[in-house]
Symmetry: C2
Subunit: 305 residues, 2 copies
Amino acid sequence: MITALAGGVGAAKFLTGLVKLVRQEDLTVIVNTGDDIELHGLHISPDIDIVTYTLAGIVDEEKGWGINGDTLHCLQSLKNLGQETWFTLGDRDLATHIFRTAMLKKGKRLSEVTAEISHALGIKVAVLPMTNDPFETRIITAQGSIHFQEYLVKRGAIDEVRGVEFLGADHAKPADGVIETLMDSELIVVCPSNPIVSIGTILAVNGVRKALQETEARKLAVSPIVAGAPLKGPADKLLRGLGLEVSAFSVAKCFADFLDAFVIDAADASERGRLEELGLEVKVTNTIMRSLDDKVSLAKAVLEG
Amino acid sequence: MITALAGGVGAAKFLTGLVKLVRQEDLTVIVNTGDDIELHGLHISPDIDIVTYTLAGIVDEEKGWGINGDTLHCLQSLKNLGQETWFTLGDRDLATHIFRTAMLKKGKRLSEVTAEISHALGIKVAVLPMTNDPFETRIITAQGSIHFQEYLVKRGAIDEVRGVEFLGADHAKPADGVIETLMDSELIVVCPSNPIVSIGTILAVNGVRKALQETEARKLAVSPIVAGAPLKGPADKLLRGLGLEVSAFSVAKCFADFLDAFVIDAADASERGRLEELGLEVKVTNTIMRSLDDKVSLAKAVLEG
């Protein structure tokens, strides 16, 4: 049994490689829901959808999110109705959000709805939201606190980050199965996702960090920072905003309390010494995933690591 | 000032002709909402949408409903998610339902949302829902009471009609402006719509029938029954199910308490005597609307009638 902690695009790319090497049935993915947002009255779970669409083989690979070949007819009509459309929602993609929203309104839990969507998409990986409770990542900027999606997508991550807050974290319980799968796993992989707003959120759910410290599973993380810069997304701006160094080492420090081993890119081989001082085993490999081969090679290194 | 009482397709066709002869600003349409239904968690108002799409010139003219050239990508994906898709919802059309549902959830009234949609579609006709309150037309069949859309669309009107019920009618108040426009109009036209489930519903809203009896407006109705059969829809089955004759005369009787004049097709000229006995002026013309010319001619006959 393998469990992965995942954000969006980086994690999904890594998982694409992993499922070439392990049976989907043996993999559980715990996904960040701090990015979830209500738009047009619909409950959007961006990271869950990126993971499920990617595992189902229907993701728009060029963008890393959304459904391949999707159309934007509904969104254009929403724009004609005067609605803000900075968050792209394709017509096929909208079905997921409409379905999810309707099921939640009927009283189903997000974990149940996610399982139903995964099943319908033919995925055998268990995709678990980190929590079924409200949990909202907000970025503190000079203009005040704004939703993470507003910071990232609407405003293009241009604001200086003064802080990050997790609304609801105090009361968020892990979704059904999250603690159990962490305790029962043989291997837990922290995917190459944003350490603050993708993995940090999962760790902020009550009981998750403790389970990671206590489980007998081997725990590895793949650095999302290569040569001092994130492969994708605003991890550098967030780390810097929180007064942290932008480096693989800085990411490792976020997880050092529970991690056994850390996987870094060859470009960061010089970090080995500092990482070993944190008590971590260090694995150096190519972590940049351009092709499927890259993804499989990285997954192989992790499984061997 | 002209006010029309309207159901769906038949009314919309008639209104297409009417707006060629009168300024949109001088026309108010009070629309049936008894057909409204929640599907996929979205509030669908079929007759309002037929009227607004038609007046905006974007309706799928062949079907009489939906948006011309619309695609079904979202609906197909909802089907893949195991959802019932017997009610066709196009991608562009869905924007209307998503917008309406989100606005209602925010606490706006259906009349406000309808005005916003009309404005966005460039319509200057005032389109008013008959009520902002819950009002649900149900058909009593051998299998029990089912929603009108389930009777009509899902089951194709195959069930024997044993009765009709209007859930919520006891408490439904007219939407903002409905009574005022009836009292202030010079001419009120009952469109050629189903007398039971399109016009009967409007008349069942508290105070509407009384306002129609008391207003000084001239009141005409166009028969939706020609030569003993409805031009469209299940009016014959409903009339028969309620023990009523399927005829223009039978429709006129439903409105005789407030009507001044009744417009029938040349095919029903022999009804004149019976209709006059109800105290109605009778106007005989072609009521079958195949072309735009037919629609304009009928509207002209009504305006002159």
